[in-house]
């Protein structure tokens, strides 16, 4: 039994949420459907931890789906790179599910809750599938599964605010365009190489340098994934989707959705196309680097002028994604590692911030805007305290996880003689203090009305857990730092 389990771990991580999503929809009771969802996400998390342990021993696990040997059959690959997004997605979705317990019934009608949980699990399965699969077309399938499920989840927000429908529609259309671009790229590559398996693609591409179809295919794939990863200026679906989705969904999406696509981006850039060095270097230098720098500033400045807090955090996500892609764009081992470190840290930071803001919204029963925040710092000290810690982490202040990512990012840029980029990163992160401080100040300073709020442990427990990680990984970052450096070595090691 255990043997079978451990042999099939790569597929179990995906199958567990996928199968439970089919059952959850049959349970009409709110509580039991939540229990089943929690159980499923917990199991998924457990499986990914087991996978992590396996990876420490084997370092590369290849799993042939249905015993059809690659490159013909579909292959699932787990290595030191893929394990990072797997842990992020499964871990955050577990915490987000715990958090959803009280919040979900508040915003969604009773009879549709089990459907929401079903979609919820489906989205998680899709995201996990994205990062485990080693097959370019299978990846497209998972891309669609996760996108469609998330679109439906966002649309569920319409029960509270009709704007959610517009947001979901935007998300659907732009997401579909992205996925289509990606599949066109895959089609072109299949046409010239005759394979869909990613590792096989890598080998066959090496014989085809300067093939025009190859370049076109690469372009389509990259743009398609960049839409999904919300790389500036292809991020326009993101702020609305995060802002109007049901609160628990914003937490899940903000912390996980773009991470999976960012991982795919890294995989395509540094692994699939590792043999087309000139193409990659040009893309990094002339496309991704400038876009990332613009994203860092555009996202931050938009956030500074934004009044709606969820949108503010969404804009800040755009800027943070900018840091990650910037790290990839520099393209050294240290910088790619920094990108992965920040990918992980940003997930726990944004997860924490969204949970905190959602809890505030839950208690004041209003959309959370800057003005609605006044006095909440005193009314909800625990939530406020966690919010401040996560904010400091986002700003990259010492003793928090965010500092570690900034530190390695800056170090990587300075070691590759790009001090001006380091200064730009720091200016942008100093600017991020402005919008964070704006919120903290309102909560701390203003005391216009007396609000009596009793904080509920079932809501703040998940916030405390995620805040704890923000501090813990600021004090002992060796786990994530070593993991990221191994991942970067795996990605780029074969290259240089």
């Amino acid at each position: 039994m255990i043997d079978i389990l451990s042999k099939n771990l790569p597929i179990l991580v995906v199958l567990c949420p996928l199968i439970t999503s089919l059952f959850v929809v049959l349970i009409p009771n709110i509580f039991f459907s939540w229990i089943l969802t929690t159980l499923s996400t917990f199991l998924t998390f457990l499986f990914s931890i087991l996978l992590y342990q396996d990876i420490q021993i084997h370092s590369h696990i290849s799993y042939a789906l249905g015993k059809w040997m690659p490159p013909i059959g579909i292959e699932y690959i787990i290595d030191k790179v893929a394990i990072i997004p797997i842990i992020i997605i499964s871990g955050i979705s577990f915490i987000a599910t715990i958090f959803a317990y009280k919040i979900m019934p508040e915003e969604i009608e009773k009879k549709s809750i089990s459907k929401v949980y079903s979609l919820w699990l489906l989205a998680i399965a899709g995201l996990l599938g994205l990062v485990t699969t080693g097959d370019a077309f299978n990846l497209f399938v998972f891309l669609e599964i996760s996108s469609l499920a998330s679109v439906a989840l966002v649309a569920m927000g319409a029960q509270k605010d009709k704007q959610a429908l517009v947001a979901a529609y935007n998300y659907l259309i732009i997401g579909a365009v992205g996925a289509t671009l990606y599949v066109i790229g895959v089609g072109l590559l299949y046409g010239i190489t005759g394979t869909l398996n990613m590792e096989d693609l890598t080998n066959r591409i090496s014989d085809l340098n300067n093939n025009k179809a190859l370049i076109a295919g690469f372009g389509f794939m990259i743009i398609g994934i960049m839409v999904k990863a919300a790389v500036f200026p292809l991020h326009i679906w993101l702020p609305r989707a995060y802002a109007y989705a049901p609160s628990a969904v914003s937490v899940l999406l903000a912390a996980t959705a773009t991470k999976a696509s960012l991982y795919i981006l890294a995989r395509i850039l540094f692994s699939v196309f590792e043999n087309s060095e000139k193409l990659i270097n040009n893309t990094l230098l002339y496309v991704i680097l400038p876009l990332s720098i613009i994203a860092m500033f555009a996202g931050t400045i938009m956030a500074i002028y934004e009044k709606d807090i969820k949108r503010l955090l969404a804009h800040s996500s755009v800027a943070q994604i900018g840091y990650i892609t910037l790290a990839f764009a520099i393209g050294t081992k240290a910088s790619i590692a920094a990108g992965f470190i920040h990918m992980f840290n940003h997930a726990i930071i944004k997860g924490g911030l969204f949970i905190a803001i959602t809890s505030l919204g839950f208690f004041i029963q209003k959309r959370v805007t800057i003005n609605n925040l006044s006095g909440l710092g005193r009314a909800m000290p625990i939530t406020f305290f966690c919010f401040v810690l996560c904010s400091l982490s986002l700003a990259g202040l010492p003793l928090t996880a965010g500092f570690i990512s900034k530190l390695y990012l800056i170090k990587a840029t300075i070691s590759s003689d790009a001090i001006w980029i380091a200064i730009l990163i720091l200016i942008s992160s100093a600017l991020s203090v402005v919008y964070l401080w704006k919120m903290i100040e309102v909560m701390w300073m203003r005391e216009e009305r007396k609000i009596v709020i009793k904080e509920n442990p079932s809501i703040y427990i998940s916030l405390i857990i995620i805040t704890f990680f923000n501090v813990y990984f600021g004090l002992d970052a060796s786990l994530i730092v070593n993991g990221s450096f191994e991942a970067a070595e795996k990605l780029i090691g074969d290259l240089k």
Partner: protein
């Protein structure tokens, strides 16, 4: 027998424990209020022992947390750190007693929160003093900034909010944008975050870039308040006076100049600076700040604002001493950390006492109050003399060494700067006791100063005299710092 490692822990952890305990015992106000002084006594007991071990030249390294490969939070004892640690923890005793008198006398709100953050700020300052590497230094530098924000904005009104914004944006902005990359630059150039008493940069960095790197450090260390990044200090004066006294005359600003001196001596190394002349521009900037803020101080009628500008001017003495890059000047700068601290804390104590006792904040309102509050003005007089540099007050030693250092370095103009500034100091500080004792009273206000305020003030003013006679151990430490022993 307690080892020195444990003394470090005792010194830095006792304020932290005070901070953690304060909210839990807030029901009993007596216990809560005197937790601070008790913590101060324990902390400075540790600091004394650390100093004696520093005098014996013991080399102590203590790693607390290993964050990742090559990054850790660790402590070690340097002569300069031993001095700064002792200053911060010892003066905390009196500042904590004083705060009790002040907060009670003023009937301030949220006292529990105040004491908790006060203690954590002291903790951060002590961690800076014993920081073992650049990163630890930076981390606690930021902790200090953030822990003092709730203190600066204690009143939680419009003015406090504005001041808080300025405070945070200058201190956080400068440190994040300039100090952090400067530290990482050193890290990349030398391959480690360690410091050494001869400096680590010699031969590791292109000499042409040295002034640029130094500029990133100098303007990144906003707490040292060199122009043009000095504005946060006058703004921070909206805080209750105990905060201005301990933090904005001792812990925070001294953490700034301490960092500056550490960077000049242990990162660049005075030999490297003297050889390359990388710090020459800093001499002129510090001299300018020194004179300009002294002149501004003359025109300030608000007592705390005048003291704030005087503080900025005195901080520049220290930066200037480091920038002169001779062993005498550096010693003078290091001694000035301790002598100025004792003097300036007394002056702020007096300012707070006058506010509690008679709600006086303006210098022009002081006329004739010398009779009803003679002791407090006597304390002010002694503190002022020390800052001006008149023997037998402690301040005369540091000025003496600074002047010797200026003569050594070949920048004779700087001696002139010191002389002019001394005259200006005398001018703007002496006005206060002069008005109190010799001017005619304009209106009848009774000045009642609580004992809990009066006693610490008298003790710190007495300390400035005491220090004049017992400067030797400190002077030994500073000569160790510049490598003479």
């Amino acid at each position: 027998m307690i080892t020195i490692e444990n003394f470090i822990l005792i010194t830095i952890l006792s304020p932290l424990i005070v901070c953690v305990l304060t909210p839990f015992i807030s029901k009993s106000t007596v216990l809560r209020d005197f937790l601070g002084p008790i913590g101060g006594v324990i902390s400075s007991w540790g600091a004394f022992n650390i100093m004696s071990s520093a005098l014996n030249n013991q080399n102590i390294n203590l790693e607390i947390v290993k964050i990742a490969e090559g990054i850790s939070i660790g402590f070690e004892i340097t002569p300069l750190g031993a001095i700064f640690g002792l200053v911060a923890s010892f003066l905390w005793i009196f500042a904590a007693i004083y705060s009790v008198g002040y907060m009670r006398g003023n009937k301030e709100k949220n006292q529990t929160r105040f004491y908790a953050f006060y203690a954590i700020a002291v903790h951060a300052a002590l961690c800076i003093a014993y920081a073992g590497d650049l990163l630890t230094l930076f981390i606690f530098y930021e902790v200090l900034t953030f822990s003092t924000y709730p203190l600066v904005t204690h009143k939680q009104n419009e003015m406090a909010q504005k001041a808080g914004r300025l405070y945070m944006s200058i201190l956080v902005g400068s440190s994040v944008i300039l100090l952090l990359p400067a530290i990482i630059w050193v890290w990349v150039a030398t391959g480690s975050l360690e410091m050494s008493h001869n400096g680590v940069l010699d031969g590791k960095i292109d000499v042409a870039y040295a002034p640029l790197l130094l500029a990133m450090f100098v303007f990144g260390i906003g707490k040292a308040a060199l122009m043009p990044i000095h504005k946060w200090l006058p703004a921070a004066m909206v805080a209750p006076t105990p905060v201005s006294a301990l933090l904005h005359a001792v812990a925070v600003v001294k953490a700034g100049v301490f960092t500056m001196l550490i960077v000049l001596t242990n990162v660049f190394g005075i030999d490297f600076l003297a050889k390359t002349g990388a710090s020459e521009w800093l001499i002129w900037l510090a001299s300018f700040t020194l004179l300009a803020t002294s002149i501004i101080a003359i025109y300030k009628d608000d007592l705390k604002a005048r003291l704030a500008y005087s503080t900025i001017s005195q901080l520049s003495y220290i930066s200037l001493g480091g920038a002169l890059a001779t062993s005498m000047a550096t010693q003078g700068a290091a001694l000035h950390i301790i002598t100025h601290a004792a003097g300036k804390i007394t002056l702020f104590f007096v300012a707070g006492a006058l506010y509690v006792g008679a709600k006086i904040t303006k210098i022009s309102d002081l006329n004739g109050h010398g009779k009803s509050a003679s002791l407090i003005f006597l304390a002010f007089f002694i503190g002022s003399l020390s800052i001006i540099g008149v023997p037998p007050m402690a301040g005369s030693w540091s000025k003496f060494f600074l002047m010797l250092g200026a003569a050594d370095s070949g920048y004779e103009v700087v001696i002139g700067v010191f002389c002019i500034s001394t005259i200006l100091n005398a001018f703007y500080l002496m006005e206060i006791p002069a008005r109190a004792f010799f001017f005619k009273k304009e209106r009848e206000v009774s000045v009642k100063i609580p004992k809990l305020i009066l006693i610490p003030t008298l003790i710190t003013s007495f300390l400035t005299i005491l220090l004049f006679f017992f400067i030797e151990p400190f002077q030994n430490l500073t000569s160790m710092m510049v490598g003479k022993i």
